[in-house]
């Protein structure tokens, strides 16, 4: 008798799993279609090599069992008549179409984004009406709690002129978590979103995060994303600039240690002229950790007077750690400003000598310089407590 796999994430179980998650948000068919995309489309990520040991197209998914209540999502923050901040369950009743539209909209195809969409059911929806401006941030927490794989999502929709900030935390209270998260932000004309995302999963977790953002005309987006957790962290942040004046700043902080692997991609698409973007990446690796980063800026033909910058700095803190960085510009228009720069190195001996010549012991000098390496990005985060938290986390890792 033929034995059929009864657990795990496999193409044979697509129908069954899609049905398990089907709800008023998305039908089983819609979910199955995303699952099929996940199973049939390559990740586009580089294959394993001497340094990178994990094949993102051949992940062992036998123990990954998607269940709808594998975790919790919560939101807290300022109360305002013009703001809705609630669970998907509540949002689907009042704003089903908007929520669906936000989840379906993809800035750049990402295999894990398709997986996250297929099982998107637990999540937080934040909607700010036109002109609402709030200084106090919303805090979104997604926590994997159950034995199954967890697929949380954060959807933010800002109407014209709205200005809010959001802190998102991704964590787990169980061992061996598998988390596949989705982020989607739609910004109306002149809207402004300040967002910080902290991935702080346990070291035995596998984590996949796909974010897409669409700042509208004259809208401003600033995303700061830090990946300190998970044994394997795979992140894609894609921004599509489709209207004049749209502005995006993407800051990415990666710091794996021990045997952590982190693979990050950013993609900024200038699909319209007079749009601006700044991408800044700082990655450090300690122990036997691996980090790899591919950053793309794409300016389509006709997107004249686009202005894009990408800066990627990497710091290798141990002889057995490895960091790879590939910045890429795809430029189709002629009247644009675009630059990229990358630097990879160990701790600079001249800096170390300078600091030690002031009496600072070498270990302290190393810690000071490594902390300083991240400081320009940490300093850009708008919230004191998050800045301090990141400084502490980085300091702990530097040792």
């Amino acid at each position: 008798m033929l034995e059929v796999a009864s657990s795990g994430l496999s193409p044979e179980r697509s129908t069954e799993l899609a049905a398990r998650f089907a709800d008023t948000l998305f039908s089983a068919e819609r979910r199955a279609a995303w699952l099929e995309r996940f199973f049939t489309t390559p990740s586009g990520r580089a294959k394993p090599d001497r340094y990178w040991k994990i094949d993102l197209d051949a992940l062992d998914l036998r123990a990954v069992e998607p269940v709808p209540d594998a975790g919790t999502s919560s939101v807290s923050g300022p109360r305002h008549d013009g703001v809705i901040a609630c669970s998907f369950e509540d949002a689907v009743r009042m704003h089903g179409d908007l929520l669906r539209r936000a989840i379906e909209r993809d800035a750049a195809f990402d295999r894990f984004g398709a997986l996250a969409r297929a099982f998107a059911r637990t999540g937080i929806f934040i909607h700010a009406a036109a002109g609402v401006e709030l200084d106090e941030p919303f805090v979104v927490a997604h926590t994997a709690t159950g034995r199954g794989a967890f697929f949380p999502a954060t959807v933010i929709v800002l109407e014209a002129g709205a200005r809010i900030s959001v802190i998102e935390r991704l964590a787990a209270s169980q061992d061996g978590a598998f988390v596949c998260a989705l982020g989607s932000s739609l910004l109306g004309e002149g809207a402004s979103l300040e967002s910080v995302a902290l991935q702080e999963l346990p070291a035995d977790a596998r984590c996949f995060v796909s974010r897409a953002a669409f700042p509208g005309r004259s809208a401003r987006l600033h995303v700061s994303e830090a990946h300190l957790g998970a044994g394997l962290a795979v992140a894609t942040t894609a921004v599509a600039l489709e209207e004049p004046g749209a502005h995006a700043e993407v800051d990415l902080l990666l710091f794996p240690h021990r045997s952590q692997h982190v693979d990050a991609v950013t993609r900024i698409d200038h699909r319209c002229g007079e749009t601006t973007s700044r991408t800044q990446v700082r990655s450090a690796a300690a122990g036997e950790a691996r980090a790899r980063y591919v950053g793309t800026i794409a300016i389509v033909p006709g997107a004249q007077r686009s202005d894009a910058g990408l800066r990627d700095d990497a710091l290798v803190l141990s002889p057995r750690a490895h960091i790879e960085s590939v910045p890429a510009l795809e430029i189709g228009a002629n009247d644009v400003r675009a630059y990229h720069g990358a630097a990879i190195g160990a701790l600079d001996e001249e800096m170390l000598f300078y600091a030690t010549s002031r009496g600072i012991p070498r270990d302290d000098a190393e810690r000071m310089i490594a902390l300083g390496f991240f400081e320009p990005l940490i300093e850009r985060i708008a919230f004191d407590e998050i800045r301090d938290e990141l400084r502490r986390a980085v300091a702990e890792r530097v040792g």
Binding site: M351, F353, Y354, A355, R358, G359, I369, L371, G372
Partner: protein
């Protein structure tokens, strides 16, 4: 006590296998100012780096002691804690590390726990005023994006904050305009007039005698080709200003 001073004896230094210093003998006594002059490439900065313990500079022979302590046996941080300070000609930038934090860490390392934070802050402000530095400096990253003059001022601020027993100033005057030079001179004078710094011995490395108008030397030494060619009083600096190094070179050749 006879072992007081920064005492350099028969010092030979090589950089990546190439001998640069070929036997230097020099004693900087507490509270005294020695000027070390010499043409480009004569080895002045090599002496400074070797004494501070830069890993690229290898001492192949000789000794250096600081008030009796064997300097060469110490790591660079321990040399600084023993009381040595080097003002760099080209100080390194440390992005992400704020001047205030760096100065505090250095002061704590060299003089552990001697000043509560408020007193430290007050001291910083006083020293910065002498150096005509804007307090906003403290919030900037160490030497990151600093102009040449700003870097030298920060070196002098560190000198003032650390109040070392012996200070080596490596071409602190190069690239400074007259106002900056005056501020540097004032900072050194203030340190020498203070309780903490009245016994500080100085080794002032320079190309040009102009800094010596502000820090009057007790002795002047001229280095040529990795050796001290001649020594004298402040008048030697004036002679070099008039004649350059050629006549000293010629005398050296005649002696040989």
């Amino acid at each position: 006590m006879s072992d007081l001073g920064l005492r350099i004896t028969d010092l030979h230094v090589a950089v990546e296998g190439n001998p640069i210093l070929n036997g230097i003998d020099l004693v900087v006594e507490p509270g005294r100012v020695h000027a070390l002059m010499g043409p480009n490439g004569s080895g002045k900065s090599t002496l400074a780096f070797a004494l501070a313990g830069h890993p690229r500079y290898t001492v192949t022979r000789g000794s250096a002691t600081l008030d009796g302590e064997d300097l060469l046996a110490l790591t660079p941080d321990k040399r600084a804690r023993a009381g040595l300070f080097l003002s760099f000609q080209y100080p390194a930038a440390i992005p992400g590390v704020k001047v205030a934090n760096f100065l505090h860490a250095a002061r704590q390392a060299v003089h552990p726990g001697d000043l509560p934070p408020a007193a430290f802050r007050k001291m910083l402000m006083e020293k910065m005023e002498i150096l005509e530095m804007d307090p906003a400096f403290l919030g900037r990253y160490v030497n990151d994006g600093f102009s040449g003059g700003e870097k030298k001022r920060l070196e002098m601020l560190q000198l003032a904050v650390l109040a070392p027993r012996y200070a080596i100033l490596d071409e602190t005057d190069s690239g400074l305009d007259i106002d900056a030079l005056r501020a540097v001179g004032a900072a050194i004078a203030a340190l020498r007039a203070s309780n903490e710094g009245k016994n500080t011995g100085f080794l002032v490395i320079t190309h040009y005698p102009r800094i010596l108008q502000y820090v009057v030397p007790d002795a002047v030494h001229v280095m040529i080709d990795g050796r001290l060619a001649t020594s004298g009083g402040a008048e030697l600096a004036h002679r070099i200003e008039r004649e350059g190094y050629d006549t000293i070179r010629e005398e050296l050749a005649a002696r040989a």
